[in-house]
């Protein structure tokens, strides 16, 4: 099947098997390897991307379901050489260690801060509860998201 979609503002098209998972289209066909696979069953969230602005787990979506949609992946966060405040926040607050869950955490947090720009700590914890991290214990991820929220509120992005 032929699929046309937009990723990080760029138009892409590909011929795919109907059963090809979206995450495999991104990673193996289009070579956008920032989106990771951690469980194949939508529990870990490492594959989280945005579809029309909503976070989705790309390991449980077929590529053909993304026909005509606008996708955003971790590679789309940096704009014109400027890091997104979330990326700065994760570096400043030591919100990552092995880096494997990080792209999914960033994308979930990106969509979350759009909806809830002034979150409480509890709000953030619930928002990222579909993304597992085995390294950080989440404390610094929460701080990273708070860091970004403050920066965005101050006009950082």
């Amino acid at each position: 099947m032929h699929v046309k979609l937009s990723i990080n503002g760029e138009a892409h098209e590909a011929d795919v098997e109907p059963r090809l998972l979206l995450v495999h289209l991104l990673r193996e066909v289009l070579r956008l390897t920032g989106t990771h696979i951690g469980c194949d069953t939508s529990h870990c969230g490492a594959c989280t991307i945005l579809m029309d602005g909503r976070p989705v787990k790309s390991c449980t979506i077929f590529a053909v379901q993304a026909q005509g949609r606008e996708l955003m992946t971790v590679e789309g966060l940096e704009q014109n050489g400027k890091l997104h405040p979330l990326q700065e926040g994760f570096m400043a607050e030591h919100g990552l260690q092995c880096g494997y869950c990080t792209p999914g955490m960033l994308m979930t947090s990106f969509a979350f801060l759009k909806k809830n720009p002034k979150p409480s700590e509890d709000d953030i914890r619930w928002a990222i509860s579909g993304n597992l991290c085995r390294c950080t214990g989440y404390v610094n991820i929460v701080k990273s998201v708070q860091h970004a929220a403050t920066k965005i509120a101050a006009g950082g992005a």
């Binding site: 098997e17 990673r27 989106t35 951690g38 990326q87 994760f90 092995c98 494997y100």
Partner: protein, 788 residues
């Protein structure tokens, strides 16, 4: 040993930002599955639905008819090359692919090679295997009963399922101490099977180049050099020699011990690449990872502790049954079959101790890898911390006061434990006092007493653990005879920048940053000017890898020693340039100056340039050094954790309200990274304490084989950790550092378990095995008369 600290160059003791992060926050890391080579083939694995069964027939006809499938590989194919079995680190053997029978559910049965990932999966689903089920043994106690089916029929003389018996300590003295004791406590403690479940699973790409005969393997491994040597030893007979093997361990998405072993999938991928001459990728999925990769723990422990009437502890006696699954494939490089379990006297000045452990085979996957700890240290710490708490409660002495009374005192270090370990340094009372102050211990006890009057269940638990890390001194450790040194090689370039390579491999610990900080402090070259590389056996010096918190204790020490060698040569060059005697030069980070004439100086950058352009006659050019550091002793990090829990008497749910962790890992290289390690370690302590367990039904079906029922803590269950530290440097480490990656995982479960038992003690509850699930607590509450 005081910490040297030079902030101007990003030296030790500073929270400089990580060098790794710019690539990771952009999604530009390179993990194994990100590597894609031209013409690459894919491997998928057929796994057994049975826990114990004879293989009657493997029919590949339908699989071979799937478009894109090139081959179905079975044990019989590997048998031709004598690669169907492989040795384990514990001198046991493990199947790569079975010829006769399978020994656990999800064991590899055959592998399918295909042109795409999807075709390989289709092929695997189409392989038809006929099994003849055999009796299953999942309980190690039943495995050792007379008449139990003998599982390892491949071992000709094996007449039972007993692997080994090991004992340590003075039995006579221990038995005498128990005979004389005024008070004794005894408890059965089970530490169940758990799985590290790093978010990245395991996998590899094997690429054998038929023309130059070289094998390159990109691989999720924590120990690339050791893997290279193992491959050469195991497959030398089929032409894989060590100079023709290159192991590349790229960015690793978490390891925690699970990426130390050689799994069958790696070996099959290598064999498939050698046969086809094409790159072969094998990436396991999450269920394969949870069901078939090596497990941690599975220790059935019976412990006894003896004390005098006044509460002075005297002796410890432990008997343990270790369930190793169908083979002893423990990732244990120590000379002891139960690893470092005999550090079980913990932080206490016990005069006698005796430990016995028996290993047993069962129809489960190989166990005995670590779960973010040095070889069986969590098992040891959990046992002693539970037993000390039990004794304190039994004697009706406050558990904090009881620990203070029985701690090894600061003036007793270096301290020789009753089981023979030489603890390097410690101040256990100092850490506990700090934790008590931070959490407000006395107030919490008052609150608990008031709540108890109102029927509310609140508990306070302490764990004052001693870790043992940094494997290790060659008298106690080796891997196939390889001594457990680690290495650093530094090259300073003419323009004063440097590259340093190590035998370890970070899986998230931030080595690129912390090693650069050590070198910056030692050489005065800014950390930003030092490139750190690991994980490529063609370029890095030989080392034994990263696990057991050994990177800072061993490779960190190698960094310091190598840097000091560079500095020694730099001093000679500086003396030549300044026309001064070497002894008349004073070093401060970044430059040598002449004693009494501080403006007569040469920077390390000046000296580096001269090393290639203007060095003294008779001296070789260049400014570089390598160190292979064999540690004289292990290091003994420690800490005191205090946990407050509230137990819901209706549902049995345990909520961790507060958790204060005071760690002492000696001198600290990067406080931000150390705190991050503690946060992560605490969460991997919380996980098995409350949530994680992999169990089996009586016919060997796995329970907990996916993230649906193997419960990793999310941000919601994880408390807001409160951390702090004391600093007691290691006297034998060149930087006074000790290692910290695993302390919290080792120390935290006992604090949580102790808190829950503390909450329920007055009801008659004496012990709960982890994970402390709502169902277990609910049942105990009902059994002990709590009705709502």
């Amino acid at each position: 040993m005081e910490l040297k600290t030079t902030p101007e160059v990003g030296g030790m003791g500073h929270s400089i930002k990580r060098k790794e992060d710019p690539r990771f926050i952009r999604g530009k890391g390179t993990y194994v599955d990100d590597v894609q080579l031209p013409g690459m083939l894919y491997l998928d694995i057929v796994r057994s639905p049975h826990a114990h069964a004879k293989i009657v027939k493997i029919d590949s006809t339908k699989a071979m008819a799937v478009k894109g499938v090139l081959a179905v590989i079975t044990g019989k194919d590997l048998e031709k090359y004598n690669l169907h079995w492989m040795p384990t680190l514990m001198s046991d053997t493990q199947m790569v692919l079975p010829v006769e029978k399978v020994m656990y559910q999800a064991q590899e049965v055959a592998a399918v090679l295909a042109t795409t990932r999807y075709a390989a999966a289709d092929g695997a689903a189409a392989v038809e295997v006929q099994y003849d089920p055999l009796p299953v043994v999942v309980d190690p106690r039943k495995a050792l009963e007379p008449g139990a089916p003998v599982l390892r029929t491949d071992k000709k003389d094996k007449k039972d399922n007993h692997i080994w018996h090991w004992e340590w300590g003075d039995k006579g003295a221990t038995d005498r101490a128990f005979g004389e004791a005024a008070v004794t406590v005894k408890e059965d403690i089970y530490l169940p099977r758990i799985h590290v479940a790093s978010i990245e699973t395991c996998g590899c790409i094997a690429h054998f180049d038929k023309i130059d005969g070289k094998l390159t393997v990109w691989m999720t491994t924590q120990a690339p050099h050791a893997i290279r040597t193992v491959f050469a030893l195991v497959a030398g007979h089929v032409g894989l020699e060590e100079h023709k093997i290159r192991i590349i361990s790229p960015d690793i998405g978490g390891g925690f011990g699970g990426k130390v072993p050689v799994y069958p999938g790696y070996v099959i991928a290598v064999a498939a690449s050698v046969l086809t001459g094409k790159p072969v990728k094998w990436i396991e999925d999450r269920m394969e990872n949870l069901q078939a990769d090596s497990f941690a723990r599975d220790y059935h422990i019976t412990a006894e502790l003896a004390a005098k009437k006044d509460g002075t502890l005297t002796a410890l006696r432990i008997k343990t049954l270790a369930d190793h699954g169908y083979t002893d494939a423990a990732a244990n490089p120590s000379k002891f079959p139960a690893g470092l379990f005999h550090v079980c006297t913990g932080s206490y000045d016990l005069k006698a101790a005796h430990v016995e452990v028996d290993g047993a085979y069962t129809n489960k996957p190989p166990g005995g890898i670590a779960y973010r700890c040095s070889f069986r240290v969590t098992e040891a710490v959990h046992t002693i911390e539970r037993m000390v708490d039990l004794m304190a409660h039994q004697l009706n002495i406050d558990p904090a006061e009881f620990r203070m009374k029985n701690f090894i005192k600061p003036e007793q270090f270096p301290y020789k434990s009753a089981l023979g370990w030489e603890y390097d340094s410690g101040n256990y009372g100092g850490a506990l006092k700090k934790a008590m102050d931070m959490i407000g211990y006395a107030d919490l006890r008052r609150e608990q007493a008031e709540k108890r009057k109102r029927g509310q269940l609140m508990g306070i638990g302490i764990s004052s653990f001693t870790e043992i890390v940094g494997a290790g001194p060659s008298k106690h450790f080796d891997i196939l005879g390889l001594k457990m040194f680690d290495s650093c090689e530094i090259r300073v370039h003419p323009t004063g920048k440097a590259i340093a390579r190590f035998g370890t491999k970070s899986q998230g610990q931030g080595h690129e940053t912390t090693y650069a900080q050590i070198l910056a402090e030692e050489l005065g070259i800014p950390a930003k000017d030092i490139q750190v590389e690991e994980g490529d056996t063609d370029t890095a010096p030989y080392g034994l890898g990263t696990y057991a918190s050994r990177s800072t204790p061993v490779a960190g020490a190698a960094a310091a020693v190598a840097a000091r060698k560079v500095r020694d040569k730099a001093r000679k060059i500086a003396a030549y340039l300044l026309e001064a005697a070497e002894d008349d030069l004073v070093w401060e980070p970044g430059k040598f100056s002449v004693k009494g004439a501080p403006n007569k100086s040469k920077t390390i950058q000046d000296i580096a340039f001269a090393a290639y352009t203007n060095h003294p006659q008779g001296m070789e050019a260049g400014l570089e050094a390598v160190s292979y550091y064999d540690p004289p002793n292990l290091t003994y990090p420690f800490g005191s954790y205090i946990c407050v829990v509230d137990v819901d008497s209706g549902t049995g749910e345990v909520k961790v309200r507060r958790f204060v962790a005071i760690d002492d890992c000696g001198n600290i290289i990067n406080p931000m990274i150390v705190q991050g390690q503690v946060h992560g370690g605490l969460t991997m302590g919380l996980a098995p304490a409350l949530f994680e367990e992999i169990s089996y039904d009586e016919i060997g079906n796995i329970r907990g084989g996916s993230f649906i029922d193997y419960l990793l803590p999310t941000a919601v269950e994880t408390p807001k950790w409160e951390t702090g530290h004391t600093v007691t440097p290691s006297p034998h480490h060149p930087l006074g550092a000790k290692g910290v990656g695993e302390s919290a995982t080792v120390g935290a479960p006992a604090a949580i378990a102790n808190a829950v038992v503390d909450a329920l003690w007055h009801l008659g509850v004496r012990h709960i095995d982890i994970p402390i699930t709502p169902a277990k607590v609910w049942k105990l509450l009902r059994q002990n008369g709590v009705t709502e």
